[in-house]
Structure formats: structure tokens, C-alpha cells
Amino acid sequence: MADTIEKGTVEGAETAREDAEGVVSARDRFKKLSQDVQDRYQQVSEDVRRGAERASHEIRRGTERARERYGEVAESARERYTQVREKSGELSRDVTHYVRDNPGRSVLIAAGVGFLVGLLVRRGRSEDEI
């Protein structure tokens, strides 16, 4: 009887020890898993932060480039506009001088050009009607 009780006690103690070891092992695994998750989370956070920084940097650089390009284009357009205005002013002066020197010829040339354009328009209209 005593042997049986002792044997049972020993077996119980052994089972309890094994269970305790299992709990310790599970706790260690849980800790390791938790650590892994934290490491992963930090890694992902770091990657996201770097990506955001890189994107922000690229956006800033792109904006700077666009601003420079806009400035260049605006300056070029302003120069072109000034040139065209000067050229058209010169052309207008030349035409005015020519007309004042040759009024009859200028009027006839203008009327002739208008006449030809009108003739072409009339022809185009009659072709459309056909």
C-alpha cells in the first residue's frame, strides 16, 4: 500500500515537473515569438519611414525641378513674345511706309488678294454643295 502511494506520489511529481517544464518551454517560445513580432514590426516601421522619407525627398526634388522648368519656359515665352511684338511692330511700320509710298498699288494688291480668297471660298462652297 505504502509502495503504491509512494509510486503514485513520485509519478505525480514527475508529471508535475514535466508539466512545469512544458509551461516554461511554452513561455520561452511565446517570448521568442513576441520578440520576433516586435523585431518585424520595427523593421517594417523602419522600411516605411525610409520609404516615406525617400518619397518626400523625390517629391521635393520634382517640385524644385518643375519650378525651375516653369521659370525657364516662362522666361522663354516672355522673350518670344517681346520678339514677336517687336517684329510685328517693324512689319506694321514697313507696311505703313510702303502703303504711303504706293497707295494705289497697295490697295489693288490687297483687293486682288481678297478677290482670290473670295474666289477660292466660293469654289470651295460650290464643291461642298456638289
Binding site: V107, A111, F115, G118, L119, V121
Partner: protein
């Protein structure tokens, strides 16, 4: 628009005489054209345009016929002189 001052340097040409003939006498087209050159050109072009649209083919055929008649008359004169 600045008013043109005739300095007397302009000499009337055949075209000016032609325009004097076809335009009304009281219209001083010469002075108007020289005073307002660009509007005058625009007006002339507009007039020509409407003339081309309304009577273009008739005017072209009339001018062509006149030129053909002139050419044939000149050729006849030349040939007549050669034959004579």
C-alpha cells in the same frame, strides 16, 4: 491714327489714274489711304473678298476674254505687218 502730311514726293502712277477713274471723284482715296494705311488695306481686301464671292467667276471670265481679245489683236497686227 496719325494724319499723313503729303510732302509732294508721291508721283501719280498708272494704277493711281486707274483708281481715280473707277472711284467717285469726290472720294479722296489717295489721302485716305495714306492717312489710314492699314484700315484702308483691310477695307480693300474685304471689298475684294466680297467681290470674289459674289461675282468672281464672271469677272475672271471677262478679264480672260479681254486679255484673249487683246492678244489675238496684237498677234493679228504682228502677222499683218509681217505679211505686208
Amino acid at each position: 491714327m496719325e494724319d499723313f502730311v503729303d510732302d509732294g514726293a508721291h508721283r501719280p502712277s498708272t494704277i493711281d489714274d486707274f483708281l481715280d477713274e473707277i472711284l467717285p471723284e469726290e472720294l479722296e482715296w489717295d489721302r485716305l489711304v495714306r492717312s489710314y494705311p492699314l484700315p484702308a488695306l483691310a477695307l480693300a481686301a474685304l471689298g475684294g473678298f466680297f467681290l470674289g464671292i459674289s461675282h468672281g467667276p464672271g469677272i475672271v471670265s471677262a478679264v480672260t476674254g479681254y486679255m484673249g481679245a487683246q492678244i489675238s489683236r496684237n498677234v493679228s497686227q504682228v502677222l499683218g505687218q509681217d505679211i505686208g
